[in-house]
Symmetry: C2
Subunit: 268 residues, 2 copies
C-alpha cells in the first residue's frame, strides 16, 4: 500500500490557500493552513521558483500566478499586468535607483497596483502610498500619460465622469480646451508630468509628498494596460536630468511589459 508524500500535500495545501485568497501575507497563509512559518517560507520559495506564485514588490505579499485563478475567483484584468510588471519594475529600480509605480484606472481616480518604492535605496518607504492608494486623474503625471494615449472613447468616459465631480482637483475637466492642450502636449513630449500646482496626495493637502515623476503608458495596439512611472524627491533632481538619465529605461521597461503580456498565458 503506497503512501502519500506529506511535504507535497502541504505544498498543495498552501497553493489552495492562495487560490482562496489570491493575495496573501505569510501570516494569512499561516492562519489558513496552520503550517509553521519556516516551513511555509520554504514551500512558498519552491512554488515561486516553479512559477506558480510570485511576490508583490510593494509589500512582499504572495500572489498566486494569474494562470491558476481563471476559474472561480474574480480578479480584474489588471492583476495579470501587475504580475507581469513586477519583475520588470524591480530590474528598472536596480538600474536607475529611483522607484516606480504601476497604476491603473479605478473610476474617478487611478490607483497604485504595484510599486518598487520599498526596493529603492534612496527613498524612504512612505506609509501612505500603499497598494490601492488613489491618485488624481487630471493633475498627476500618470493620469495625464494614461489619458493622452488611451482610445478616445475611454478618455471621453473618464472626463465625463469627472465633470460631474465638484472636487477642486477635478475642475480641469470643465475646461476642455486647456485639458486638450495639456494632453496633446503630453503626447508630443512622450511622457506625462504633474501639474505645477499639484503637490501629490489629496488635493490641497497639508502634507505634500515632495515628489516629482515622469510617466509612460503600457501601450499595446491602441489599448492602454496601465501606466508606469519613475519618481524621485523633487529637490534631488530636475525633470531634465531624469529624462536624459532614465526615460529611455522607463520606455524600455514599458515595452518589455507589454511584450511579455502578449506571450504569457501559460503554466511555466
Amino acid at each position: 500500500m503506497t503512501k502519500t508524500i506529506r511535504s507535497l500535500e502541504r505544498g498543495l495545501q498552501a497553493l489552495k490557500a492562495l487560490h482562496a485568497t489570491p493575495i496573501s501575507s505569510l501570516h494569512d497563509i499561516y492562519e489558513q493552513t496552520r503550517i509553521p512559518k519556516p516551513t511555509l517560507l520554504r514551500i512558498l520559495l519552491t512554488l515561486e521558483q516553479s512559477g506558480l506564485v510570485s511576490r508583490r514588490l510593494a509589500d512582499g505579499r504572495y500572489r498566486i500566478s494569474s494562470g491558476l485563478t481563471r476559474l472561480g475567483r474574480k480578479r480584474d484584468r489588471y492583476d495579470r499586468v501587475a504580475e507581469t510588471a513586477a519583475p520588470v519594475l524591480d530590474r528598472l529600480c536596480q538600474k536607475v535607483s529611483w522607484p516606480s509605480d504601476f497604476m491603473v484606472p479605478a473610476g474617478d481616480h487611478l490607483e497604485i497596483r504595484e510599486s518598487s518604492r520599498t526596493h529603492s535605496p534612496f527613498m524612504i518607504y512612505v506609509n501612505k502610498d500603499r497598494i490601492g492608494t488613489p491618485v488624481n486623474w487630471l493633475l498627476s503625471a500618470v493620469g495625464r500619460a494614461y489619458l493622452a494615449y488611451c482610445p478616445e472613447s475611454e478618455r471621453k468616459k473618464v472626463i465625463a465622469l469627472l465633470r460631474k465631480s465638484d472636487r477642486p482637483e477635478n475642475w480641469l475637466a470643465k475646461d476642455p480646451a486647456r485639458l486638450d492642450a495639456i494632453l496633446s502636449e503630453t503626447k508630443k513630449r512622450g511622457y506625462g508630468l504633474r501639474d505645477q500646482t499639484f503637490a501629490g496626495g489629496a488635493y490641497g493637502t497639508q502634507s505634500p509628498d515632495g515628489l516629482a515623476g515622469i510617466a509612460v503608458p503600457l501601450l499595446d495596439r491602441g489599448r492602454v494596460h496601465g501606466v508606469i512611472n519613475i519618481i524621485w524627491p523633487k529637490p534631488a533632481r530636475t525633470v531634465e536630468e531624469i529624462v536624459t538619465q532614465c526615460l529611455p529605461s522607463l520606455q524600455a521597461a514599458a515595452a518589455e511589459i507589454v511584450n511579455s503580456l502578449r506571450k504569457r498565458p501559460n503554466m511555466t
Copy 2:
C-alpha cells in the same frame, strides 16, 4: 538562505508533465520527468487525493483535473464530463457488477471516452474496445439513446451527415419514417437498445462482440452531454432482467453525473 523542498518540486514537475500531456500513462510521465516510477506513484497518489489528478477507469492512465487546463491546452468539452463520470461509473459497476461505457458524438460515429469494463468482475477486458473506439450511430443502443433525446437541430445534422454515407450500417438514415419510429419508441421506453441485426463492432464483422446493452442520455436542460450504458454478455441475462435489476441505478448514475457537472468548476 532558505532552501527549496525537493519533494514538492518534483510533485510540481509531475503536474507540469501532465499539463503538457493531459492524459498520460505512468510510463509517459516517467519519460518526461525521469523521476523513478515508485516515487512517481507516490506523487500521483498524492495529487489524486488532492483532487488535481484523477485516473481513467478504462486504462488507469492519469488525467489532469480539467480545472487546471483551462488555459493553453485545447481539450474538448467532453473531457470534463468524462472526468466527472468516472467515479460514478465506478460505483455503478461495483453496485450492479456489469460494466458501463461513457460515449460521446464524434462526427459520423460515437466514441468511447470512459469505461468501467476493466473493473467488472464478470467481463474479460476486451482488447478492441478501448478509449476512442468508434460506435455506430443508428444501430447501437447508445446512438439511439443520444438521438432520441438530443435537440432536434442536432439530430438533423447527424442524420444529414449519415445520409451521405454509403456504408451499410448507415442505411437507416435513408429511411426517415422507420428511424423516427425507432427513436420515438426509444424515448417512450426511456432507454436505448441495439438493433436486432446489430452484433457490435464494425458492421458485418466476423467477430460479433456477443454483448447486449441498455443506454441512457446525460440530459441537462435539453442538452445531451453524452450517453452512458450498461453492457453484459448476451447469453447471461435477458434485457428484461437487466432493466428491472439495473435500469434505476443507471438512471440515478446519469442524474448524479449531470448534477455534479453543474456545480463543479472549482479547485478542490
